[in-house]
């Protein structure tokens, strides 16, 4: 595998006695989307500033495009597109003028710059609003302009701090699709930070869970799901129940008697523990089946369908429950906090 485009080794930052980023190790490869996930104040932005050379690390080192961002600041900054958290623009200038300034700061001038501006404005869907003062932009439009701004320099590495904040749900999908497209098309490395976990879940190849300055764990969403989502696999099954005529006890008995099913409970949308990614269809009653592991799923599914057919039950849905990133995150943090508390207790 190639050397990573973004690399942090033991990266540490302290403000006074407070350690904001604690011995962070991180790698992002070419063509990869890495999601740095964590609550506000976890140290995500500080990490990003260190990767950009805008903040001096107190320990460890960072490498971006193979260079030290503090020593080769200009080479790194020329190749890294950065969207800051809550990016601001010069309100008196139009969106296009703002981007033109960024282009000039990157040594792009004249017709080449204008062509690039048209291109990035088109990509983020701001062509029509480009010549309005950016002070009149909505939050979502500013965010799009910010992404355009990061793309002006045609970067090898893209660092987006909270890219989906303030954008409406449709816009989020659009932006994430655009980002994904850029990564595959241009083979850039993308690091994004977010606390809106479920939004970015589908976009990230790998995620790192960041909590109180430390990377608790990292891996693909599926990996983390296995690690923190409990070892057991779960299936959701739902039956139509328009008139309330379904005999719940009987259905429960049928489901419970399938070999391989360890436990059965009625689905309850209010129960966060069940963590249904998408709610079950309206007018249905659902059950959650717990299985020993993923390997048990095909047999159980097959047997379930056979028995449902025999009993002539109105099946509405049958699917595997994958823990959402939000769920994984919650468990990981709980796990970490629990470990910290245990440490404290043992010290005391």
């Amino acid at each position: 595998m190639d050397e990573p485009l973004i690399q942090a080794i033991g990266l540490t930052k302290r403000y006074g006695s407070r350690t904001v980023v604690d011995r962070l190790d991180l790698e992002v490869q070419r063509g990869e989307v890495y999601g740095l996930l964590g609550p506000n104040g976890a140290g995500k932005t500080t990490t990003i500033l260190m990767l950009l050379g805008l903040s001096e690390p107190d320990g460890g080192r960072a490498r971006v495009v193979g260079l030290d961002p503090t020593r080769h600041a200009l080479e790194v900054k020329r190749r890294v597109g950065y969207l800051p958290d809550d990016a601001g623009f010069y309100g008196d200038l139009t969106g296009r003028q703002n981007l033109r300034y960024t282009a000039a700061l990157n040594g792009l001038n004249g017709a080449r710059a204008e062509g690039r501006l048209d291109d990035v404005l088109e990509r983020v869907g701001l062509t029509d609003a480009a010549d309005r003062p950016s002070g009149q932009y909505s939050r979502g439009m500013r965010q799009r302009l910010g992404i355009a701004d990061a793309l002006v320099k045609d970067p090898s590495v893209l660092i987006l701090d909270e890219p989906t904040i303030g954008i409406d749900p449709l816009g989020v999908v659009e932006i994430l699709t655009l980002i994904r497209h850029l990564v595959t098309e241009r083979r850039i490395a993308l690091l994004l930070s977010s606390h809106l976990l479920d939004q970015v879940q589908a976009t990230c190849d790998r995620v790192g869970i960041f909590y109180a300055g430390r990377l608790i764990d990292e891996g693909s969403v599926a990996d983390l799901g296995r690690r923190f989502g409990g070892s057991r696999s779960r299936l959701a099954v739902a039956f139509e129940d328009d008139r309330g005529g379904l005999d719940r006890a009987a259905v429960g008995r049928i489901l419970g008697s399938i070999p391989g099913v360890l436990a059965v409970e009625v689905a309850n949308p209010q129960d966060a523990e069940q963590s249904l990614v998408d709610p079950l269809p309206l007018g249905t009653i659902g059950w959650i089946l717990e299985l020993a592991d993923d390997a048990a799923i095909p047999a159980v599914r097959h047997e379930l369908l056979r028995r449902v057919g025999e009993a002539d039950l109105p099946l509405a849905e049958l699917r595997q429950l994958v823990p959402s990133l939000g769920e994984i995150y919650r468990r990981a943090v709980e796990h970490e906090a629990g470990a910290a508390a245990a440490d404290q207790a043992s010290v005391a």
Partner: protein, 357 residues
């Protein structure tokens, strides 16, 4: 066979690679870019800032303030020059009197004095929000993530502010000179033109000091309003109450009235002058009058009674420009010195600041 082919391919790739990469520190990860970072980042910043200044309301205020600074004293100066003109035919440096004469009742209404008061305000006005505005508009992280040095930001902003004020000052001076030429029929000698040019240069230097102060405040104070208030107070203290304060302190340290001998009185006066010269406004006024008035042959209080005697017996003469500059040299060097020190402070402070608040 296939193995050797692989090696050959590798070799070719190795040969090709460096050629397609930029000459900067070579690692395999550096992608070629289609443009190099600007060689002079501060020029890019300055150009944008200058465009902002020209568009903004501040430029309007600047031109109005300097127009007033020119028009009001000029009104008084022209009447006095007209009155004195018949007697002064052939008198030296009449043209320069446009800048140094004014109302007899209000000594402040002379071009050089008025500019001495207005120019610092302009310097502060163009500097007080240079950096903190980027913070409040949240554009600073984006700006600093571009491939320019951090000092390019502060240098560019300083250059743009100075260029703007210089432009207005030159315009004002040309207007005054034009008024003298066409309305009063005064024709400047080449020496006078050079002196006016030098005076404009000194004034720009003085504005640079205040601009550096404004920039420093914009780095130190996160809120533009605070920086503006502090800058305004400093201006008030130095320019308006400065003379009063320094003479009070001087009086406390060394009172001339209680001195019994001439030597003691001179010493007291020297100390008072020393204290007053701690103010940049005093430095500017002294340098300014020497350059604009060739008949000024000394600035400092005589050191001894003998020198005082000599000074009183001296036949009035006019200094050549180089002699005048020699006289004002310490003042000029001091002005440059404090400007550089102040700018350096702003600079260091900015370089060490965290990007985030």
């Amino acid at each position: 066979m296939s193995a050797s082919g692989g090696i050959a391919a590798k070799k070719i790739r190795r040969v090709v690679k460096p050629a397609s990469r930029p000459a900067s520190p070579a690692t395999s990860l550096i992608d070629p870019v289609d443009s190099q970072p600007p060689r002079w980042g501060w020029i890019v910043v300055a150009r944008k800032e200058l465009a902002d200044h020209l568009r903004g309301a501040r430029a309007l205020v600047l031109f109005i303030a300097l127009a007033l600074a020119a028009a009001i004293p000029l009104y008084f100066a022209s009447t006095r020059i007209r009155d004195a003109a018949p007697a002064a035919t052939g008198a030296p440096a009449v043209f320069l009197a446009l800048f140094t004469l004014g109302s007899t009742d209000f000594p402040i209404l002379r071009v050089n004095a008025f500019v001495g008061i207005v120019a610092p305000l302009l310097g502060i006005a163009f500097g007080f929000d240079a950096v903190n505005r980027e913070r409040t508009e949240r554009t600073l992280p984006r700006l600093l993530a571009q491939p320019i040095h951090r000092d390019d930001v502060i240098n560019g902003k300083f250059a743009a502010g100075l260029a703007m004020i210089s432009l207005a000052l030159v315009a004002m001076t040309v207007l005054i000179a034009g008024f003298g030429l066409f309305r009063l029929g005064l024709v400047p000698t080449s020496g006078e033109i050079v002196r006016i040019g030098v005076w404009v240069g000194i004034t720009i230097l003085y504005v640079a000091f205040w601009l550096a102060l404004g920039t420093f405040l914009s780095v130190v104070f996160r809120r533009a309003a605070t920086a503006a208030l502090v800058g305004f107070s400093l201006w008030l203290i130095v320019t308006i109450f400065g003379g009063l304060i320094t003479s009070l302190i001087g009086g406390l340290v060394a009172s001339t009235s209680s001195a019994t001998t001439i030597d003691a009185a001179l010493r007291a006066a020297q100390i008072q002058q020393l204290i007053s010269r701690l103010l940049p406004s005093q430095l500017y006024q002294e340098a300014s009058i020497v350059v604009l008035d060739p008949s000024v042959t000394r600035l400092s209080v005589p050191l001894t009674a003998g020198q005082l005697d000599q000074a009183q017996q001296q036949i009035p003469t006019l200094l050549s420009l180089d002699q005048s500059l020699l006289l004002a040299w310490p003042q000029l060097v001091a002005l440059v010195g404090i400007t550089v020190v102040l700018f350096a402070f702003a600079y260091i402070r900015f370089l060490r600041q965290e990007v985030r608040a």
